[in-house]
Symmetry: C2
Subunit: 84 residues, 2 copies
Amino acid sequence: MPRFMDVHHHMEGITPEALHEEHAKDLEHQQSEKGVRFIKAWADPKAGKVFCLSEGPDMNSVQRVHEKAGHRADEIYEVSIEEE
Amino acid sequence: MPRFMDVHHHMEGITPEALHEEHAKDLEHQQSEKGVRFIKAWADPKAGKVFCLSEGPDMNSVQRVHEKAGHRADEIYEVSIEEE
C-alpha cells in the first residue's frame, strides 16, 4: 500500500492533547476510506507544522479522511521510498 | 533527546539507491556530533521531497551532520510532540 507524508501549516501552539485529539479523529474517520491507515504524527508547535505518515490506496483517500476529520492537509507527498 | 523532522527540496528523480547512499552518509557523519541519530527517511521522487526523522541535542547538530554528508536540509523542525 502506498505511503504518504502530509504537512499541516498554521498549527502554532498545538498542544500534545490537541494533537492527540486530531489524530484520534483521523483514526475514527479512516474507517470510511478503504485501506487508509494513519501511522504516526509529529508536531512542531513553535513553527506551527504537523507531519502525518499514513498509508492508503491514493492521495485523495488520505485527504478525504483529513477533510472529514476537519483538518485538510496543506501538502501531501507520496513517499514511495523509505530508508532506515 | 529532542527529535527533528527535516525536509530537503529539489530531490526530483531520487532513486532508492541514492536515498540509501545519502542516508548512509548521515549515519557515517553522525558519529562526529554527540547524540545525533538519524532514525528514518522518506522520499517522494516525483515532488522532489525528502523527509528525515532524527534526534539530537539541537537543530544545529543535526544540520552539521547533513552538511558534512553534503546535503544541507532546506527546513528543520523540532517535533516536540509525537503521536501514534
